[in-house]
Point group: C2
Amino acid sequence: MAIQHPYLLFLGDAPDQLAAKTAQGIAHWRPDWCLGQLRLEGCQADLGLTDMSLEEGAAAGAKTLVIGVANRGGVFSEKWISVLEQALMLGYDLAAGLHNRLADVEVLKAAAEQHGRKLFDVRHPSREFDVANGQKRSGKRLLAVGTDCSVGKMYTTLAIEKEMRARGMKADFRATGQTGILIAGSGVSIDAVVADFISGAVEYLSPANSADHWDIIEGQGSLFHASFAGVSLGLLHGAQADALVLCHEPTRSHMRGLPDYPLPTLKACMDANLAAARLTNPAAKFVGIAVNTSQMNEGSVEAYLRRIESDCELPVMDPFTEGVAPIVDRLQ
Amino acid sequence: MAIQHPYLLFLGDAPDQLAAKTAQGIAHWRPDWCLGQLRLEGCQADLGLTDMSLEEGAAAGAKTLVIGVANRGGVFSEKWISVLEQALMLGYDLAAGLHNRLADVEVLKAAAEQHGRKLFDVRHPSREFDVANGQKRSGKRLLAVGTDCSVGKMYTTLAIEKEMRARGMKADFRATGQTGILIAGSGVSIDAVVADFISGAVEYLSPANSADHWDIIEGQGSLFHASFAGVSLGLLHGAQADALVLCHEPTRSHMRGLPDYPLPTLKACMDANLAAARLTNPAAKFVGIAVNTSQMNEGSVEAYLRRIESDCELPVMDPFTEGVAPIVDRLQ
């Protein structure tokens, strides 16, 4: 599965900017791939890209119309479907990361077949995987792990890829979730894989490579999340990570979606991840801590970061405000 | 999903006794459910049950024909299919734990619909599950965990259920694999669930119950198995186990299927399982160690068991040769 770019980003009739956050992520991390945005009547989101019709996008060379917006109530409206069908007729592939599948909409499935176009439902694995074999692969790997879900793993790993590439290092972001896949153009939605094949899917996602190449693997969930830890452990084993980055959001009062579950301490979280990671790579170690400080009182951020840095003896930063140079320094 | 009994056990044209080990497990643990065996020409397996034709089984009251034998090369032969179709016509449901599905055989699917019968492909979950909520459920739970895969978890948990019931305790074996499901008549093949829902499926499998009721959960894999540990961790979290039993096979030279991976020590394995289990049940503790001694030199067994018992300060036994009374003593 490789989604062809450049993209035209479909924002539909997004009720607000937040509804288009997938498109926003794509435009932020892959500006060169995004020719423009397609907005329907009533759309309240704006990425600051050139507004284009399907015809204008096609003329400019767009290969894929990416649905970068949540669909209200999880259904594809008639308005959307007619635009998406038109896109297939004009030669676009379609890509979406929604729960329901483009391929389950009969008219889109038929139009894709008729016009020889592809439908990418990136939340749903399109292939079967082997069971993990646990064998050491050449090349280097970094994996983001978290104290919780949704604490900035994707942002952190994309920032590390960008910083490494800026320094001329060989690095590829490896996407494990739907937004990441649309940004990378490929990847595996790891939480949608059949349980027996979690680690095997990660081995597939991050194959053997040249010795100086880094795979920067997005990561998913947390070993301390009572709903999803199995995914995180399978990821950790399949990744065979040389380097781990801990991602943390300090204002969470409990694990996401689980009001009765407190967050682990950073130390407990690092110890558990390190012990598990060393099953498949005894040399695994932490190389930094990425803190999402967006919800913190601004005046308290600096002292907080310096305190963790001193406690954990690792580079600590907010990738969004400070970048990730100190982590890449350690890896270079 | 509840498979109706009594069963007629289909042994097909099994080339040897080992090919029918699923049927053997069912006959061993649910003798009251097994009216007889159906053997085709050339069958080399024999469970010691009454040989019956489909007609004789139906007359005796059999509700389900259980395919308790591996199919050669993973395909259903013509010979099998004609017998299975005939069974549906005579009013049997069919149940199988094979990789390929009965429901994918057109003629069987059509016959089941026509005659209003059910096809149970127990290796493939037949429903969707919720994400785990991690909330404490009433009732008590025991889970078998292992140093490796295939070390006797199913045997151990079925033996505990049997011992508890013999003492008048309320206990239900909860199956997490295909043979276990055929023995229990229900369950979830946990390694075939989509990764996000592993723990949620276990919460479904082992719902709230009366305070003095024990769910005896089969377990799957090992936290130290580089291919499958994610399944084991999700199971551990979903089970919210009060009691853990460690299962071990001392003659393994490496983890099953992974020649480069040594087995963990019993202590490391117990420490890791306990730490993980306590995320969802802080009161989790080990109550015994079940050792599969079948491959050991007979003369060394007793000294080995007593040494572990002394090292770990827990009851240690081979459930097959000695039963599990000391474990149930602890729980009663």
